[in-house]
């Protein structure tokens, strides 16, 4: 220690850049390797996303790399053993591929939908989705449905872009920042960088959340809200803002459908639709400009965006043919009339004065602290603007809104609030990230019926898409679902990310049909990404009367010995993120910035461990063996050597010039976004910090929904098909179309009788508040509390208990309750309690907290583990003191009008309603074991997992050698 600057242990040092994957944020990292072992992972200062910083998880990557939970060999369930027992024998990759080739080949040649591919919190849906489509199965989805599809759908169907990975708050310029229901989110590091800068610059930060931790802790004001009631608050805010005239009239008129006239003739089949004055010359996925305003000066209808026209936002009028019409803003105003602050106060628990003050703060800040940036741009109607205006009120929201069954409408309400404040794609407000904005709704569509699924044929349509009307649903002639998860059916019409959370239950119940092979990649569906965990684990192992598994074959591709691995018949060991090539693709969810598209790659920094094989390579190999058209030449020969080769040479269509990566395209790397394959693309990424950042000219960076320059640029670079305006849907015709179908007013597809009421109710073209579905079907006297989970900043889902450093921070979890709950129920801080819902109960340790709304209890998500999973010792705290809340959450609602097995999800989008569950809490009997319950038979370490050390003293370069 006396001469500290002398290098500790010289060794052979290498420094390489790649992209982190300790979470989905995907920061740039610089990895120092000493004598072949990872010595230091730091944020890459030259990376646009994280600018050199890193998080707790990212800095613990070393412990992931050398974790004893790593799978290192392909495994097969031992003949005769039960699923869940985790009895495995190692096999070779050849055997694994041969098994899959035969089995999947048969399925594809007979009934491709019997192959179901579901992938969890991965970042390669472009490739997995391509594989599914090429295979021809409709049964594909990733985590979106159980994650935050409400956020995507609610916002994209309203403003053409969304929070999540598609857009965010511009905290550089905002003056007021309102964060709703966010604990950590995907933009982990950038959000933290931005919030602290924002605060230091004197911005005011308000957090609306039942719990005050993390970001909310540093908020200037914390507004504790009762879970599931945000729509009430947001609608009351809209009420107050409209009442006070604090909305941005010009913005609404020009850039939304607020002034467009809605047909209100109840007899008309066009009832509730915008009045159109001509048939559009071209059909496409854009809003044709053929609607009407009511001109103030002329006092008559006029076509929208007529130069010089000044339409009315409020009022009721009659067209010359007598049709009664109203601007949609008038309908909004009428809708929110009932939603007074006093009304909302009762529901949300937030005092009416606070709601009013919030509305004034938002409205006055937006109106009086306007930003004018000297950036000239041209709108799609040809108007030149010398400046870009910003109303500096920024919002951010995530699963606190999304993960409720009323989330879609809450999020619509929020999007409308953001819009009436005039903050969409403007400085200081919400800003898009490429490839957004996209048309409302975006163009991709799923197949429309069972005939689109044919043996040995790619799927006729995208596996996931964006329905624009009932005819876009994926149902048979009776209106029944084609997909195993019932996505895109009348039960959940806009389930744009699928309903992965119902896949296992449906497959087990063989409803709508039995499947053969369930292929799970990077999802822990025997634990945290499943609701009703205990029963689902039984379903995975359940057999029919002939002794055959109800789900005949399960393949799990994972990097660690998760709970799900125990249920696999075949286990494919993946590499870690430090061992593989990977892309954060423009075709999927890139890491774009407000100023332009950004995509990035991973390049291995250490060789694969044991027999691990990158899953990307597995898919390419399988695709080639199965002769899926995209992976073989016309002669049926393998087209791509390996994954890097695939990434360089794959094009969405022959000669399209669009591939997985947007950077350094063209023969010599001279083109961006679009261009011929460049054989040296990887090298160019490697030289450039593994990231491609295309900064657009300033004039393309704002108002992109209506920015002619931007839209043309996007069009010519293959990001969008139409350079048409993307007007904000204050009033949603898409929803109205479904409602009309339910009312029997249209000629197209009609919902089955038992779902008519459901569709009619929830496909309301304007947002409304309803109590979460589960609460409506629960005895709230018996189950008075809302139970929710939060993301801990230092843990990613269930992955990180195998991480020696992170698990010291979160070794187990508590149920946090307000002391009042304990006092009422007679238990004390630190007691063992039962958390019970109408579905089941778990035993947990309680902790008192003053930072939680007293009607709410919460816990950190997915800290509790099944005994022995993740190669932890069976007595590890995670399985003894830690608990999993999922045991008390159901994947289905109690039987009701809409059916017996309706998913516990948002009725519009199929978003899993994780945060709707109602519970009661009472003291565990002192004689009961001081341990969580339910308990599961401990998993044994799988063959090939590294040794579990009793102690360790990590020192890069010496660690593995010391044995």
């Amino acid at each position: 220690m006396q001469e500290p600057t002398k290098g500790a242990a010289a060794g052979r040092i290498e420094v390489k850049n790649t992209t982190c994957y300790m979470c989905a944020c995907r920061c740039g990292i610089r990895v120092t390797v000493r004598d072949g072992e990872v010595r230091y992972i730091q944020g890459n200062p030259e990376h646009p996303l994280n600018k050199g910083v890193i998080c707790a998880k990212g800095a613990s990557g070393i412990m992931k790399q050398y974790s004893p939970a790593r799978l290192t060999r392909p495994l097969r369930r031992k003949p005769g053993s039960e699923r869940g027992d985790a009895e495995f024998e190692p096999i070779s990759w050849d055997e694994a591929f041969a098994t899959l080739e035969e089995r999947l080949g048969n399925i594809r040649a007979t009934d491709p939908k019997k192959f179901a591919l579901f992938t969890g919190r991965d970042q390669m849906q472009a490739l997995t989705g391509l594989f599914a489509k090429q295979f021809g199965t409709p049964n594909y989805a990733a985590h979106g449905g159980f994650c935050s599809v409400n956020m995507a759908a609610g916002m994209i169907y309203t403003i053409g872009g969304s929070f999540w990975e598609f857009g965010g708050p511009d905290l550089d310029r905002a003056k007021l920042f309102v964060m709703i229901g966010t604990a950590e989110d995907h933009h982990s590091n950038p959000m933290k960088i931005a919030i602290s800068q924002f605060k230091r610059n004197g911005g005011r930060f308000i957090s609306i959340n039942p719990v005050r931790t993390g970001y909310s802790a540093i908020a200037d004001e914390w507004i504790p809200i009762k879970p599931g009631t945000d729509a009430a608050l947001l609608l009351a805010l809209i009420h107050e803002i409209i009442k006070q005239g604090l909305y941005d009239r010009d913005f609404l008129v020009q850039y939304s459908n607020a002034a467009e006239l809605v047909n209100l003739d109840p007899a008309s089949s066009e009832y509730g639709m915008f009045v159109r004055f001509e048939v559009p010359p071209e059909e496409g996925c854009f809003d044709p400009q053929n609607k009407l305003w009511w001109d103030r000066d002329l006092d008559r209808p006029i076509s929208t965006h007529t130069p010089g026209a000044d339409p009315r936002l409020l009022g009721e009028f009659n067209l010359s043919d007598g049709t009664p019409v109203k601007p949609s803003f008038q309908l909004l105003k009428e809708r929110v009339e009932q939603y007074t602050p006093e009304w909302a106060a009762n529901i949300t628990g937030i005092p009416a004065e606070t709601i009013r003050r919030l509305a004034y703060e938002m409205g006055i800040t937006a109106r009086d602290e306007k930003i004018e940036l000297p950036i000239s741009w041209t709108d799609v109607w040809g108007n030149e603007h010398q400046t870009v205006t910003g109303n500096p009120v920024a919002f951010h929201a995530m699963r606190g809104l999304a993960a409720h069954s009323n989330g879609f409408h809450s999020i619509r309400a929020m999007s409308i609030l953001m819009s009436i404040l005039g903050t969409i794609d403007r400085p200081g407000g919400f800003r898009h990230k490429a490839p957004f904005p996209r048309p409302i709704p975006p163009c991709p569509k799923t197949p429309k019926g069972p005939e689109d699924v044919q043996p040995n044929t790619p799927l006729n349509g995208m596996p996931l898409g964006w329905p624009a009307d009932p005819d876009d649903l994926f149902v048979d002639e009776k209106g029944n679902p084609v997909r195993i998860d019932k996505g895109f059916s009348w039960e959940y019409p806009l389930s744009v990310h699928g309903l992965m959370h119902n896949a296992i239950t449906n497959a087990w119940r063989q409803d709508p049909y039995p499947i053969d092979t369930l292929f799970i990649f990077m999802a822990n569906m025997a634990w945290n990404s499943t609701m009703n965990t205990e029963q689902v684990r039984k379903m995975l192992n359940d057999k029919d009367e002939n002794g055959e598994y109800k789900i005949p074959f399960i393949v799990v591709a994972d990097a660690f010995q998760s709970e799900m691995v125990a249920y696999g018949d075949l286990i494919l060991p993946d590499t870690t993120y430090l061992e593989r090539h990977d892309v954060m693709s423009m075709l999927d969810r890139p890491i774009s910035e407000f100023d332009g598209p950004v995509d990035s790659v991973r390049i291995p920094v250490v060789p694969p461990t044991g027999d691990c094989k990158p899953f990307q390579e597995v898919l390419i190999e399988l695709g080639s063996r199965l002769k899926l058209p995209a992976f073989v030449t016309e002669e049926g020969k393998r087209k791509f050597r390996n994954y890097p080769d695939f990434i360089v040479n794959f094009e969405t269509a022959p000669g399209s010039g669009i591939g997985f990566l947007g950077g350094w395209r063209g023969k010599g790397g001279e083109k961006q976004m679009k261009g011929e394959p460049n054989p040296n693309q990887w090298e160019m990424y490697a030289k450039n910090n593994c990231v491609f950042h295309y900064e657009m000219p300033k004039s393309y960076q704002y108002m992109r929904n209506w920015n002619l320059g931007y839209l043309r640029w996007a069009q010519s670079h293959g990001m969008t098909r139409y350079a048409e305006p993307i007007n904000i849907h204050i009033y949603s015709e898409v929803l109205q179309k479904f409602r009309l179908a339910a009312q029997g007013k249209t000629h197209g597809r009609q919902p089955p009788a038992h779902l008519k009421k459901r569709i009619e109710t929830f496909f309301d073209p304007l947002p409304f508040y309803f109590e979460p579905l589960e609460a409506q079907l629960t005895d709230k006297h018996r189950y008075p509390l809302n139970a929710i989970t939060q993301r801990p900043m230092a843990m990613y889902h269930s992955w990180d208990s195998q991480n020696a450093w992170l698990r010291q921070i979160h070794t187990y979890n508590h149920i946090y309750v307000h002391p009042r709950v304990g006092a009422a129920q007679g238990f004390a801080d630190g007691d063992w309690v039962w958390v019970e819902s109408q579905w089941g109960k778990v035993r947990a340790l309680c902790k008192y907290s003053e930072a939680v709304e007293p009607g709410t209890v919460w816990t950190w998500n997915a800290i509790g583990k099944a005994a022995g999973a993740w190669n932890l010792e069976p007595n590890a705290n995670e399985s003894r003191q830690g608990f999993l809340l999922n045991h008390v959450i159901s994947e289905e609602l109690p039987p009701h009008d809409a059916g017996e097995h309706v998913s516990n999800s948002d009725p519009v989008t199929g978003q899993a309603a994780w945060y709707d569950v109602r519970v009661r809490i009472y003291k565990a009997n002192p004689e009961e074991e001081k341990m969580t319950w339910p308990q599961f038979k401990p998993m044994k370490p799988a063959p090939g997992t590294p040794k579990r050390r009793g102690w360790q003293a990590f020192f890069a370069g010496k660690f593995l050698k010391q044995g």
Partner: protein
Amino acid sequence: MHPAFSVIFLTTLIGVGQGLFLALVTGESYAAVNLLPQQSSREFYAVGALLAMLFLIGGLIASIFHLGHPERGWRAATRWRTSWLSREVIVLPLMMGLVFLYGVVHFFDWHPDLFGVGTRNQLTLVIGAIGTVVAFALFVSTGMVYASIKFLQEWASPLTVVNYILLGGASGFTFATAFVAYNAPDLVTFYGTWAIIITFAALVGRVGSLFRNARIKRHSNIQSAIGVRHPRIQQKAMGFMGGSYNTREYHHGKGISALKSVRWTFLILTFVVPLLLLWIGIAGNGTILLAAFGVQYVGLLFERWFFLAQANHPQNLYYQTI
């Protein structure tokens, strides 16, 4: 604090050793001025010194268990200018050396007439005098190791040093009483009386410190620890859940009631029972006197445990969520 057994044994054993040595020197001094009968150098003083030595060695061995790197223990002697621990480390071997010398001189019955006054024991009395000073220095060093940490408010008091002296003295004199019961029965009353007096004084000192500690006004509180002024502050997470050095080293891990019963135990075992036994045994019953020492020593183990455990380290303000 979490009482370490090495520390408990170290301080109690050397305390007996020092006390015993002081008792021997006291007896020898009284004898020098003919207030007590002279004892045999070899059978009495040398054996007594040997026993004192054994206690000191026992303490030294215990201390080794406390160190992570005993092989580097010698380094601990280098910072005597600032560190009471270093001083203790220096004085302890010095003490042992003097006890050894004292014993050896007695053993060889080497009594040169240093000052030309013709009496016996001149050299040993000189060694004894120096040893007495060193013994007190050792008591002070040991006591100051604890008393010098100002924010350990239970310890940061002169009473800590006084108690180390008195408790060491009491146990040494009690042991000496038992020792003479076998070796020089005519000294039992002398030693027994002193043992009773010192034990009683120690009781007063120790009870005094208990009273003081019960009334401590904490200088630090959670407000000053994290710098937030609010009456209601509660820690929700320590930053780790499986324990750390900070939760293991600074907290005894027992409940308040356990602490209270230890307090009563040590008060009874260190003071009440030995005083009774000394009072009974002073008639010359060696077994009872030996029992008095045995009980008192066990009491001291409890006392030292309590002494360590009772100290409330301000760092615990940061680690409340155990």
